[in-house]
Amino acid sequence: MTSAMLILVGCQLLGELLRATFQLPIPGPVIGMFLLALALGLRARRTGNDSTPAPLKPAAEGLIANMGLLFVPAGVGIIAEAGVIRKEWLPILVAVAGSTILSLIVTALVMHWTLRPTHTQDTDRQGRAS
């Protein structure tokens, strides 16, 4: 558990250092995520086993399973913004709802359409195998 935490905050720190050194517009944790994914990928290629090493996997899964909790403190900040939100509630609510829904649908539909050829190929292969 402690070694897993060390890996996670270590990657975050490395990400912060890279961001500061190269003046990157991306936050440290996101750089850290790509670094850790790269490291895990390289490790999998070397060992030929793509399962995550023992202490990291349960720690990561535990954090991800409770990720919603971590947004509560920032979310409560909405009450500090109540003034602006009350003043321009209509454009704010319509734009948040509209753009979120449209973006969800567009992303999923494009993914769905472009994936379909591979999808049928997969079923064909499965069909032939059986």
């Binding site: 905050v9 975050q12 991306i26 936050p27 440290g28 944790p29 996101v30 850290g32 995520m33 790509f34 850790l36 994914a37 895990l40 990928g41 999998a44 793509d50 995550t52 996997k57 990561a60 899964e61 954090l63 991800i64 990720m67 919603g68 909790l69 971590l70 947004f71 509560v72 403190p73 920032a74 979310g75 409560v76 900040g77 500090a80 913004e81 602006v84 939100i85 321009e88 209509l90 454009p91 704010i92 319509v94 734009a95 948040v96 709802a97 509209g98 753009s99 979120t100 829904i101 449209l102 969800l104 649908i105 567009v106 992303t107 999923a108 539909l109 494009v110 769905h112 472009t114 994936l115």
Partner: protein
């Protein structure tokens, strides 16, 4: 009785411990409510917890700054959990590489849709310029959204609130909405949640499916990257 309560409350309300407990308790209640509702995404534990904590702060006249001094310990974990998303991502590397062009196209389309419709709707409905600019990066993960908002002349704190509102909405309606379009693929669900609703929507998908979690992680990371590069560029065009 009231004096005794006041005696207890005054020192406690200033310690981080109290607000840490309140935040955790509110989230646990939120989860219980969701369980009692048969796991319905409409009973979002994040939303319930925010409402409970918000009501508590308003009811006790506590400032957000006092609250955040305690809750920042929970807030801090957003960093490590973002890094932790590398685990489902790495475990599904092969799958991600196979669909790289689909992911790229869907990401670009979804990201542009979010930015353009967000700014456009505020503008059409007569919202102010600073609200429109705060809306532009709201689909990405909160720290990126705030940094971009600051860079283009939005209000970072407002952007954070919008990001969370959008995330909660995407988490609540995402699955039903996409099911209506006959999309039942976890790769599409995950990526859409990551691109349109960032962390909160991703958390909802990640809890249900591992492949969904991998694509959501990718959606958060790549959309963060794209938005950080694209939105400042688009903002210079809109003068």
């Amino acid at each position: 009785m009231n004096a005794a309560l006041h005696h207890l409350w005054t020192p406690l309300s200033a310690t981080p411990l109290l607000w840490l407990v309140v935040t955790l308790a509110a989230y646990v209640i939120g989860r219980q409510v969701q369980k009692a509702c048969g796991g319905s995404p409409f009973a979002s534990p994040v939303l319930i917890a925010i409402l409970i904590v918000g009501a508590t702060l308003l009811g006790t006249g506590t400032s957000y700054d006092t609250y955040f001094a305690g809750a920042q310990f929970i807030h801090f974990l957003l960093g490590p959990v973002t890094v932790a998303l590398a685990v489902p991502l790495a475990e599904n590397f092969a799958l991600v590489r196979r669909h790289l062009s689909s992911i790229g196209l869907a990401l670009l389309a979804g990201s542009l849709t979010s930015v353009i419709t967000g700014v456009g709707l505020v503008w059409l409905l007569g919202g102010s310029r600073s609200v429109a600019l705060s809306m532009a990066p709201k689909a990405v993960t909160t720290p990126i959204a705030m940094a971009v908002s600051d860079q283009i002349g939005g209000v970072p704190a407002l952007t954070a609130s919008l990001a969370i509102l959008g995330g909660i909405l995407a988490a609540i309606i995402g699955r039903h909405m996409l099911a209506r379009f006959q999309i039942d693929d976890w790769r599409a669900h995950g990526l859409a949640a990551g691109v349109a609703g960032s962390g909160i929507a991703a958390a909802q998908v990640a809890a249900l499916d591992e492949i969904g979690a991998a694509f959501a992680a990718l959606g958060i990371g790549l959309n963060g990257l794209l938005t950080a590069l694209l939105v400042p560029l688009l903002a210079t065009l809109w003068r």
